[in-house]
């Protein structure tokens, strides 16, 4: 990216208008809160990643030689918990969503700025509890906490971890609530629902899941904690309870939660695909409603995790059928993204590369979901590495790719600096290769019958596991690359212009980085979503003259 060197009078933006730790820890500005989240989820990601590294090292050889079985069990449990509850669920909504939603709808902030800050603190407190649980010896129940193991048998810190998840749940509820109200009540004049960027639609759908599903996991861990302390038998068959009830309650939340993890990434991809090709999204309304459909149908399929659990065969059929129903909107999205490229103006910048990565890997991950939803086949692959590969394809190959793509794309807006494009492309490539090498062999291992959560495994699976471990080390390095250059660019990257991509959307009509209240004046929207325009007609909201206002390469403002 080429930028002009000319230094103008520095204009106050959200980063430099006040200084000091306190101004950050007590901020009510959604953009600063997004950065607080960015920092904290990154820490949790690397913590979760460190556990993953240890898992992969243990699995390098068939016998359990690196660590004790107890330790290994704690490793994958805490890996799952960290990654799911403390990284992936907040990742895109709380960072990119928080930063962008008010800007994209032309508002000054979220509807409840104080709740927003509170949600970060709640998240941190939840994280702290979980962290204490780890330091005090960890948990070994698997991230799914199945009873009666978790309630009556495990001797690890189930309650502390449960408390951490309980608390963090409220942070997610508050974020969702805030988004819903904001999107309903704070859209700029003229910004009708069908003019909203698809990013906002998908976050709206995500938020619905957050407020409808999260309370159930809260009450479920509450019941688990009480059961563990009082042993009254809610989940204990010896006393008349049913352990499978726990599985129903757990998955009632946790299946929809997988859509909390993927929908925001889908929103990011919609933005990337449209803006990196300067094309309106093909079938806008279908993509928008597909998000809602996924959110709604996502609540009807949880029983597909229980196909071998002794759940009724007939209930299994219902859940399988509904699982296929929810796959259709995902398919619609994939096809529409692809069609958007048709007659576009495609620019191979890093964000688009990540978007391509997402589409490809999500397709594979999603299609393997169809294997799992096929009842007779799931009987064989359930709780094998096939499942592990399925969800890593979607969550790591899909969502993290989406997250990184979004982070790169909006990085100029967030930090006011450009990242180094060459390094970024290199990083994306390393991640893509490392990823596939890590997780593709797991499909094979899974179908061959290697069960998951195994500390030691029979010899014949070793080759595949060695490949997987090798891939994981490439992947780990891959993740360090963006970490380093993004941090570097915050200080040394070239200054970003208002709209370095020639993209379209309200966030590109304000300065980079934006001022505290986002726009100098409330914009009035007279355009449709993704209505790309020639340079002369480019819309700029607010006065020009700051450093973020020079024309970009394409001569646009």
């Amino acid at each position: 990216m080429e930028t002009t060197e000319k230094i103008l009078e520095p204009r106050a933006d959200y980063i430099n208008n006040t200084y000091g730790i306190k101004s950050w820890l007590l901020t009510k500005d959604h953009k600063r809160i997004a950065l607080l989240y960015l920092g904290s989820i990154t820490v949790f990601f690397f913590l979760g990643g460190a556990f993953a590294v240890l898992i992969r090292l243990e699995l390098l050889t068939p016998p359990g030689d690196l660590m004790q079985a107890e330790t290994y069990n704690r490793m994958f449990t805490m890996h799952g918990i960290m990654m799911v509850f403390f990284f992936l669920i907040p990742a895109i909504p709380a960072v990119l969503g928080n930063f962008l939603i008010p800007i994209m709808i032309g508002a000054k902030d979220l509807a409840f700025p104080r709740l927003n800050l509170l949600s970060w603190y709640i998240y941190m407190v939840g994280g702290l509890f979980t962290f204490i649980a780890i330091v005090a010896g960890g948990v070994d129940t698997g991230w799914t906490f199945y009873t009666p193991y978790s309630s009556n048998y495990s001797t690890s810190n189930v309650i502390w971890t449960g408390l951490g998840i309980f608390i963090t749940g409220f942070s997610s509820i508050l974020t969702g609530l805030n988004f819903i109200v904001t999107v309903h009540t704070m859209r700029a004049p003229g910004l009708t629902w069908f003019r909203l960027p698809l990013f906002v639609w998908s976050h709206y759908a995500t938020s619905l899941i957050m407020i409808l599903g999260t309370p159930v996991i809260a009450v479920t861990v509450l019941m688990l904690a009480l059961e563990r302390t009082m042993k009254v038998g809610i989940f204990d068959p010896a006393l008349g309870g049913d352990p499978v009830l726990f599985q129903h309650l757990f998955w009632f939340y946790s299946h929809p939660a997988v859509y909390i993890m993927v929908l925001p990434a889908m929103g990011v991809i919609s933005e990337l695909v449209a803006n990196m090709t300067r094309k309106n999204i093909f079938g806008y309304k279908f993509v928008a409603f597909a998000s809602l459909a996924i959110a709604v149908f996502g609540f009807l399929v949880w029983g597909h995790h229980l196909f071998t659990s002794s759940q009724s065969v007939y209930a299994g059929m219902v859940f399988s059928f509904l699982s296929y129903a929810v796959a259709i909107p995902s398919a619609v999205k994939v096809f529409n993204w692809t069609a958007t490229l048709y007659r576009g103006s495609i620019s191979y910048q890093t964000p688009l590369l990540y978007a391509f990565g997402f589409i490809g890997l999500f397709t594979i991950g999603g299609m393997t979901g169809l294997f799992l939803a096929a009842l007779g086949l799931d009987v064989h692959v359930h709780d094998t590495y096939f499942v592990v590969a399925h969800f890593h394809y979607i969550m790591v190959g899909g969502t993290i790719m989406g997250y990184l793509g979004g982070l790169h794309y909006w990085w100029p807006k967030i930090s006011g600096r450009m990242y180094p494009e060459g390094w970024a492309k290199f990083g994306a490539l390393v991640i893509f290769i490392g990823f596939n090498l890590t997780f593709f062999p797991q499909f094979l291992a899974g179908y061959l019958g290697m069960p998951r959560r195994y500390h030691a495994y029979p010899e014949e699976f070793q080759v595949l596991n060695v490949m997987s471990t090798a891939g994981a080390s490439i992947l780990g390095v891959g993740y360090l690359i963006p970490m380093i250059y993004l941090a570097w660019s915050m200080r040394y990257g070239p200054k970003a212009t208002r709209n370095p991509w020639g993209a379209f959307g309200l966030e590109w009509m304000t300065a980079s980085p934006p001022p505290t209240e986002n726009f100098e004046e409330t914009p009035t929207v007279t355009w449709e979503a993704y209505e790309f325009r020639p340079v002369e007609e480019t819309v700029v909201v607010g006065a020009t003259g700051g450093p973020g206002d020079e024309p970009d390469v394409s001569g646009r403002v």
């Binding site: 107890e70 069990n73 070994d140 129940t141 799914t144 199945y146 193991y149 068959p237 010896a238 352990p243 300067r278 094309k279 079938g283 309304k285 196909f307 002794s310 065969v313 059929m317 399988s320 059928f321 296929y324 796959a327 259709i328 398919a331 619609v332 529409n336 692809t338 069609a339 490229l341 576009g344 103006s345 495609i346 620019s347 191979y348 391509f356 589409i359 490809g360 397709t363 299609m367 393997t368 169809l370 939803a373 096929a374 009842l375 007779g376 799931d378 009987v379 064989h380 359930h382 709780d383 179908y447 019958g449 069960p451 998951r452 959560r453 029979p458 020639g502 790309f532 020639p534 394409s554």
Partner: protein, 347 residues
């Protein structure tokens, strides 16, 4: 592809291969289209603004309906396979399984007991009735493509028919604590004659039912449950597979789960005309294994002829392979008999 060693392996693999092909097709379709567009419509000048393309209803319908139809096809296929996998067939050779942290315990009707190793004959439908002493486990034999969770407090069943002699992995697939990965074993599939020899090896204790009968006497069950009508409890002879009238007016079929409940928690369902006086036998009095022995015993004194039961046509499914107690060892595998609807000889 793991070894195919059961009658359903091939069917599961067929579905798998179909899905693999489908995945390859769609992945290539999408990746190919993306690459093609990406090259063809690459940005040529920095200021290029392509013309907007309007959506197309027809296309949207096309790519919703086709995937839907495909997925309904997969659904149907998967569901019928599932039904087959989880619905035990009529004539089976039964084995009782108890899981516990971290081992598998097997009891054959003929009295053999095994740990972490299960010997079965080739070409017979084997039905496992399973439970656990502690947490949930899952019985998984990759070569047979079967898996079923083993849940405390209830019996789950799974069946398979091995097609090839050999040793196959048995895994515990549901995470169950520290040595979950150590809860593994082998399924040894043998030729019928070898199996016969194996059967006549060990054992010694007599059949499972006769062990059950001993337990029945040791626990003084027979003080109440007598073979005449004088007992304080119902006569258990000929009971298995029948419908029982309960005190609250409903009826229930006597099966493994019902017997289990009657022993662990007798007051849950009261046989009409009897007092709720039967004591509870919790697992410190009757272990899961003994419970299964008792069931085998009660089954063995059940109706000898399937047709003789009063229950619905299928109420006695799975009951026919029982040999009467003390009748010497049954030979469930007379090789001369045709497979399928064969009935084990009742000596």
């Amino acid at each position: 592809m793991p070894e195919q060693a059961s009658t359903v392996s091939g069917e599961v693999d067929a579905l798998y291969l179909f899905l693999v092909a489908l995945t390859v097709f769609f992945s290539l379709l999408i990746a190919g289209t993306i690459l093609y567009f990406a090259v063809k419509y690459r940005r040529r000048t920095p200021n290029e603004i392509p013309k907007p393309v309007a959506g197309a209803m027809k296309l949207e319908l096309l790519w919703s309906v086709i995937p839907f139809l495909i997925s309904m096809f997969i659904f149907g296929w998967g569901a019928s396979l599932y039904y087959k996998l989880y619905r035990p067939p009529a004539e089976t050779l039964d084995v009782y399984v108890v899981g516990k942290q971290w081992m598998w315990k097997f009891q054959h009707l003929d009295g053999q007991r095994e740990i972490n190793e299960l010997h079965v004959p080739v070409g017979r439908k084997i039905k496992l009735t399973m439970t656990t002493e502690d947490v949930i486990h899952s019985f998984f034999v990759p070569a047979f493509r079967v898996k079923m969770d083993v849940v405390p407090g209830r019996y789950t069943t799974v069946w398979f028919e091995a097609t090839k002699p050999g040793r196959y992995h048995l895994f515990c697939a549901e995470y169950c604590g520290t040595s979950h990965s150590g809860m593994i074993g082998w399924i040894v599939v043998m030729d019928p004659t070898e199996y016969q020899t194996w059967l006549s090896g060990g054992a010694g204790e007599g059949s499972l039912a006769s062990t059950g009968q001993k337990v029945f006497q040791d626990l003084a069950c027979n003080t109440c449950h007598r073979s005449d009508a004088q007992g304080r409890g119902p006569n258990l002879e000929g009971l298995f597979g029948k419908q029982v009238q309960l005190a609250d007016g409903t009826t229930v079929t006597v099966n493994e789960d019902y017997i289990r409940e009657s022993i662990r928690n007798p007051r849950a369902k009261i046989h009409a005309g009897f007092q709720p006086i039967m004591p509870v036998f919790p697992d410190n009095l009757v272990t899961e294994e003994q419970l299964l022995q008792l069931i085998a015993y009660i089954r063995s004194i059940g109706p000898q002829q399937p047709g003789a039961t009063t229950g619905a046509g299928n109420a006695n499914r799975g009951t026919t392979s029982v040999s009467p107690p003390d009748a010497g060892r049954a030979n469930p595998l007379a090789p001369s008999q045709p497979r399928g609807d064969q009935r084990p000889p009742q000596q």
